[in-house]
Amino acid sequence: MKALILVGGFGTRLRPLTLSVPKPLVDFANKPMILHQIEALKAIGVTEVVLAINYQPEVMLNFLKEFETKLGIKITCSQETEPLGTAGPLALARDKLIDESGEPFFVLNSDVISEYPLKEMIAFHKAHGGEASIMVTKVDEPSKYGVVVTEEETGKVEKFVEKPKIFVGNKINAGIYLLNPSVLDRIQLRPTSIEKEVFPKIAAEKKLFAMVLPGFWMDIGQPRDYITGLRLYLDSLRKKSPANLAAGSHIVGNVIVHETAKIGEGCLIGPDVAIGPGCVVESGVRLSRCTVMRGVRIKKHACISSSIIGWHSTVGQWARVENMTILGEDVHVCDEIYSNGGVVLPHKEIKSSILKPEIVM
């Protein structure tokens, strides 16, 4: 089986983190975002993953080479020279996706994090016998998204309504598709939208079915949702493999700590914290609802909440970092500094407090 991951462009919404690495390589729960997807695909027997990408393919491939052998999965790139929307990249990668097996292939959106119930999706696809399957997820405010209206019993898609003003349903496109190769015949090599141009036609022929995604779903393409996504991911980890979560009297709620990270005396960590490889958390530190990426040092008595600390940054003694503070790579927050929602570009030293949310260039 094959799969296409839509990686897309610069990942501007996740800056300043994406100033250092392409978005799919930004760590989420101690693992580059795209690895969550590749591992899930590998687990259900996918043998080749095609990345549809239009920015820095070399960086991606160099990085993923290591995982090709480690996971035993073939990873290739299909590079757009101009943006082709959400369907165009499928046409571009047509030759890589089609083989003699005639099996359906997966299409995943790289911003989305979920439990990837791909096995169930294959079973669903086989059962309905249509041409395409999409995952849908229920949301509280459907008016912000494209709503998928389905027949309740069969899951047959009736129509797509983009950002509806009045309520038509609460299921939205979750960005995970399983498509028969014949779908590629419907897509031309030009900028085109899968939701607006391709799926409505398949739906009109009653060959498109939607499966409600069990478990959580989050588009983690921006910092606030990234932090929420970590909470949902760790909740799910608690149910599925609690042994991966940290335990101890200094831990509250769901926390993952990389085995190479060191944590000092008198700390209180959690809930919803990820501490990456090689991190040093000195004594008396408080961490909650935050991600601390590889090689970070948090000095004594510092307090961090609802924030992302980028690779190899340091947070000084008695510093306070909170309220969606995002530190890019190699940022140094001096002792006793307060950052309230500071968004700091890479390689900066913060010597005076940031009292209101602002961007530090």
């Binding site: 008198g266 004594s283 008396g284 408080r286 008595h301 909440s305 008695w318 306070r320 009292l355």
Partner: protein, 415 residues
């Protein structure tokens, strides 16, 4: 050399509960003159400066607070300094000169040759013996302590012009609209007993004028309510202005620090000034420590002997910690006043702030001000018995007494 017959009496004007409202919420619990700066009540600093005056017979505190509010302090300071300190309560505000005049009989009991008059809410090095020497050289009825300030800030004070060679006060004007001089009145004076005559003249003139108006003019009826009572005499407008240029008043310029203590923000700045003065006057009051057996101390810090500070805490610069305060492990204090019975819990940070009596700051909480002493919420103030719960951040806020904060607050006044 002054003869042994010469005696000096000092009078410190402390005001009353209806004054100093800009000092709220700190003055809601304690008379402003007793608010501690550098760990000592505000009024303690001028009092201990008076102690340096040769032949000092008596110190009077004059104000319209209730007597009991000062009773304890007055008796303990009298014992400590071995100088009688007495509180005299005015029945109502009489103005700065009127307050002095009101108690002229008491003040003259010791037959002083000179009388110092000091305002309580100013912060300076109080060079009183030097002023007295200068006054004796000048002659005349009084000498005013003055300081040069920036031309932009001068108009908030009494501006005055002095003769550069004789130091005679030539002209005096209170808070002028246009620039007159960058020399200002510090609110510290030394007088001969002739001052009582001068005050009496103002009072009598005013009484005569009021009588004249009452019989002669209907118009006066309307403005009569606005006219000042005859026993209300201000030193600046009513005495200094008219007597300027008459070879009766002189100036003595201080080159040291001088500030007015009108707001809580200024009290934090003045606390720092007094702490740094302790380096020279009372180094024994300053704490020290390197973080091994006792807390790591940075710069000028006062810690009351009854306060408990954990050795892993880091304190300073400009911190004063009052009686029975408890400072927990890993706490960081910078530029702050911690009042009696306060508890600061593990890993909390307090900077540019005043933490009121019996308040508590939770683990990993942060109580912080921007550190601008001149704006209203430039420092954070917690009134009495305020609780900041664990991990809460309080920035640039004024919190009135008996409040519990369980969520973070920024730039707010919390009633």
């Amino acid at each position: 050399m002054g003869s042994s017959e010469e005696r000096v009496v000092a009078v410190i004007l402390v005001g009353g509960p209806t004054k100093g409202t800009r000092f709220r919420p700190l003055s809601l619990n304690i008379p402003k003159p007793l608010f501690p700066l550098a760990g000592q009540p505000m009024v303690h600093h001028p009092i201990s400066a008076c102690k340096r005056i040769p032949n000092l017979a008596q110190i009077y505190l004059v104000g319209f607070y209730e007597e009991r509010e000062f009773a304890l302090y007055v008796s303990s300071i009298s014992n400590e300094l071995k100088v009688p300190v007495r509180y005299l309560k005015e029945d109502k505000p009489h103005g700065s000169a009127g307050g002095l005049y009101n108690f002229r009989d008491r003040i003259m009991e010791d037959s002083p040759s000179h009388i110092f008059l000091l305002n309580c809410d100013i912060c300076c090095s109080f060079p009183l013996p030097e002023m007295l020497d200068a006054h004796k050289r000048h002659g005349g009825m009084g000498t005013v302590l003055v300081i040069k300030v920036s031309a932009e800030s001068a108009n908030q004070f009494g501006e005055l012009v002095a003769d550069p060679t004789t130091n005679e006060l030539l002209h005096y004007t209170e808070k002028p609209e246009t620039f007159v001089s960058d020399l200002i009145n510090c609110g510290v004076y030394v007088f001969t007993p002739d001052i009582f005559g001068a005050i009496q003249n103002v009072s009598t003139q005013r009484k005569d004028r009021a009588n004249l108006r009452r019989v002669s003019s209907f118009e006066a009826l309307q403005s009569a309510t606005k006219a000042l009572p005859s026993d209300f005499v201000r030193l600046d407008q009513d005495i200094l202005s008219p007597l300027a240029g008459k070879k009766q008043l002189y100036t003595y310029e201080t080159l040291d620090f001088w500030e007015q203590i009108k707001t809580p923000g200024m009290s934090l700045k003045c606390s720092a000034l007094y702490l740094s003065q302790f380096r020279y006057t009372s180094p024994n009051l300053l704490a020290s420590g390197d973080g091994t057996k006792s807390a790591n101390i940075i710069g000028d810090v006062y810690i009351h002997p009854s306060a408990k500070v954990h050795p892993t805490a880091k304190i300073g610069p400009n911190v004063s910690i009052s009686a029975n305060a408890r400072i927990g492990p890993g706490v960081r204090l910078i530029s702050c006043i911690i009042l009696d019975d306060v508890e600061i819990k593990e890993n909390a940070v307090v900077m540019h702030a005043i933490v009121g009596w019996k308040s508590s700051v939770g683990k990993w909480s942060r109580v912080q001000g921007e550190g601008d002493y001149n704006v209203k919420t430039g420092i954070t103030i917690l009134g009495e018995a305020v609780t900041v719960e664990d991990e809460v951040v309080v920035v640039n806020c004024i919190v009135l007494p008996n409040k519990t904060l369980n969520i973070s607050v920024h730039e707010e006044i919390i009633l």
